[in-house]
């Protein structure tokens, strides 16, 4: 089975800190995605990547950046964390040539204080 591993389940950070959320997948998937999930708003796409060193903005990229230096790793960066970035962050991956369904990581619950 494909596994998508997010480095932290829970994080608490100070306002203004630079925050790194790491995601690693082990099935050679081309596509990787970062979402945030908030009550009543559902899943909202932050950034995605179709290949190494490639990135595309999603629906809510402001305040975030990403890095994909290796195929298996997709990092989400909060340049200067703010309290409105408190949320559940979900990473997902999918194959570019087969079933288009995602495999999700277990999520990172980020609290910015």
């Amino acid at each position: 089975d494909v596994k998508v591993t997010q480095s932290s389940r829970y994080l608490v950070k100070w306002t203004g800190e630079k925050v790194f959320l790491e995601c690693v997948q082990d099935m050679d998937h081309e596509n990787m995605f970062w979402y945030r999930q908030d009550p009543g708003l559902g899943l909202r796409l932050i950034y995605f990547s179709y290949d190494v060193k490639m990135k595309e903005k999603g629906d809510i990229p402001e305040g975030y950046s990403v890095s994909r230096e290796k195929k298996e790793r997709f990092s989400l960066i909060l340049e200067s964390a703010s309290t409105n970035q408190t949320s559940m962050y979900l990473c997902a991956s999918s194959s570019g040539t087969e079933n288009y369904g995602y495999t999700f990581g277990s999520g990172t619950r980020l609290t910015v204080v």
Partner: protein, 110 residues
Amino acid sequence: EDQVTQSPEALRLQEGESSSLNCSYTVSGLRGLFWYRQDPGKGPEFLFTLYSAGEEKEKERLKATLTKKESFLHITAPKPEDSATYLCAAAGAGSYQLTFGKGTKLSVIP
């Protein structure tokens, strides 16, 4: 623009009381309709993929069906452990991104 709408937002059932969750979609060139289960504080877990109208898939007490405009997740004789949020998502032509609904939160009361 692709859209996926799920109803109801929340559903409370007595244990053993069968029901259905609805997922309406407007997607150009549907390449797949997906159902996920999400437990509180965890990432969504894949349940089913449906590719064409008329297709059905089953897993334990769950059965997913697909028409040209909707998908249903039927839950037969649910148990408390079926309590979760169920997400529906669609893949349209020309995109590897999924369009998600906001989910249905199912509570099964003993």
